[in-house]
């Protein structure tokens, strides 16, 4: 698999980026590097909605990539939206090269609950893998434990696992005999 770069947009803890790089690398069997942001995020800010346009982030990330580079996933603590929806946890180019994920609505304190760092990092990890999965052509999965299962509530994310199910793994690595054997068992 080609390399994936993790890019912080705004203030993201170094430790979290390292954790994401490790789990994304393991899931997609790819080398993962950290990369600095190459654009000014404020251009995607919508003052009327007080949110950042995630589609604009995707195109800014894509513009910063050259042909030799692989995929890039932006990680942000900004609240993301697409024009027709009230918010998104993240967005990705299906079968593409860029993805973005936000921790803003994944924080328990956003819903009036006590802050929980471990829970938050787990959610961000799952959503980052989910969005990167879309760039590899994975669609939403019906298996509720699969990381590719669609989540519209933060609590939904807690119910699913952090790795793809056998069916999605088979789609990612069709030539992998272990995944194939497992899938057909």
């Amino acid at each position: 698999m080609s390399a994936i770069a993790v890019v912080p947009i705004g203030s993201v803890a170094e430790g979290l980026l390292t954790r994401l790089a490790k789990s994304i690398g393991e899931t997609f069997r790819s080398g993962v590097s950290h990369q600095a942001l190459r654009f000014d995020p404020s251009v995607a800010f919508d003052s009327y909605r007080n949110q950042y346009n995630s589609t604009m982030f995707l195109s800014l990330l894509l513009n910063g990539l050259d042909e030799t580079e692989g995929r890039i996933v932006g990680v942000t603590d900004y609240d993301l939206f697409v024009p027709v929806l009230t918010f998104v946890f993240g967005e990705a180019q299906l079968n593409g090269r860029v993805a973005v994920v936000s921790s803003f609505r994944l924080r328990p304190e956003y819903y009036g609950l006590r802050a929980d760092r471990a829970l938050l990092e787990g959610r961000i990890e799952k959503e980052a893998i989910h969005e990167v999965g879309h760039t590899f052509g994975l669609l939403h999965c019906v298996d509720p434990t699969c990381v590719m299962h669609s989540s519209t509530y933060a609590e939904d994310i807690d119910l699913k696992g952090s790795s793809p199910c056998r069916r999605c793994l088979f789609q990612l690595f069709p030539a992998d005999s272990a995944a194939t054997v497992d899938f057909f068992q």
């Binding site: 909605r49 024009p83 027709v84 929806l85 299906l94 879309h134 669609l139 669609s150």
Partner: protein
Amino acid sequence: MNKSDIGILIVDDEFSVRDSLGRWFKEDGFRVATAENANEALKRMQEQSWDIALVDIKMPGVSGLELQRRIKEIDKNVYVIIITAYASVESAVQALKEGAFDYVTKPIDPDDLSHLVQNAIKQRTLAAENLLLRTKIEELSKPSEIIGESPQMKKVMELVKTVAKEDTTVMIRGESGTGKELVARAIHNNSTRRYFPLIPVNCGSIPEGLLESELFGHEKGAFTGAQYRRKGKFEMANGGTIFFDEIGNLDMKLQVDLLRVIETKQFTRLGGEQVINVDFRVICATNKNLEKAVEDGSFREDLYYRLNVFSVFIPPLRERRSDIPLLAQHFLLQYALSMNKKINAISPEALDLLIRYDWPGNVRELQNAIERAMVVGKPPCIRIEDLPFQLNNRPKLPEADSIAEVERQHIINILDRTGWNITRSAEILKIDRVTLYNKIEKYGLRK
């Protein structure tokens, strides 16, 4: 249904809306297309079929409301979901009145959108299932169960077809075993009430005291033993047809009650006060001479006229002997299948005997005879010795004293048996055709 089988068409003049919704649904695995205006949307509609259309209500040119109408003209099964801004909720309500499935306001909560689409898919699947079931019911309820090619039965089938479409009361008359319930079912199955139940009530088999509660139902505690509230046949037949078999056996009190319910379509359960409104069609059957019953006062005249609006008479089997081979073959195939026996024919001698027999129990008796023959018979065909004992007896001798009368009745029997085939009859009688013609003339026989 796989998500990839479900097509979603997104119509919005804003690129960002088309783009983000398109990607949202593609990630879910749906088949997605977008259109930026009504013309493009209608073009997509012509190209392939769509299950759900998300339509922006405010678009330059043709509005979402108008587009919804045109989409429905092309395919009335498309579920249209209107996308609107807060300011245009009134128009969205108008769209709902005109058949839109639902509406969402921009910006849409992702969870709302997800639920809305899931609901539309669920409804679409149910509608498709419903259509499939209706088609199956139509297939199962074809009036093909009425077997008969004789002119008499063709007339019956014609009457069934005519009366089925009307909502009128029908009285079916005929001897026991001629298939009155079958005809009642054929009328029901060809009527607009066919998706509702046909409730048969055998007025002869239910004990007098119980029939009232069977018909009207009862409330809990209405009488000793009424531990639960129970719906009666009238209530169960709501929307459908109620079939009173052996109506001539109905006692006088129930005749009064029945007349009242038929006229008012209202009743109360036994022990209850609540008036229940029902809507059903009445079909009744009898093998009795109701006119005579009216004359001697055992059947109410007003009820007789209320029931005898359209009458269908089913002739006895002995008056349509040409149907016997068809019916016998039908029952043979039916039992061969259910008993898994490789008997697929009736020997010519056995068939001849079946045609000659008078069948006082009509089609029901014939059916029983074939069933018995299938039980005792061996492949490949039903033989004469497999038929019930009474059939194997020699045909009844005519009850006549003079030789001339015996000869006359014998000739009538043979002519009936062969369907008035003179050559065949003459062969059986071992006389020549001219002699047969002379005897027909001598005895004044008519076909």
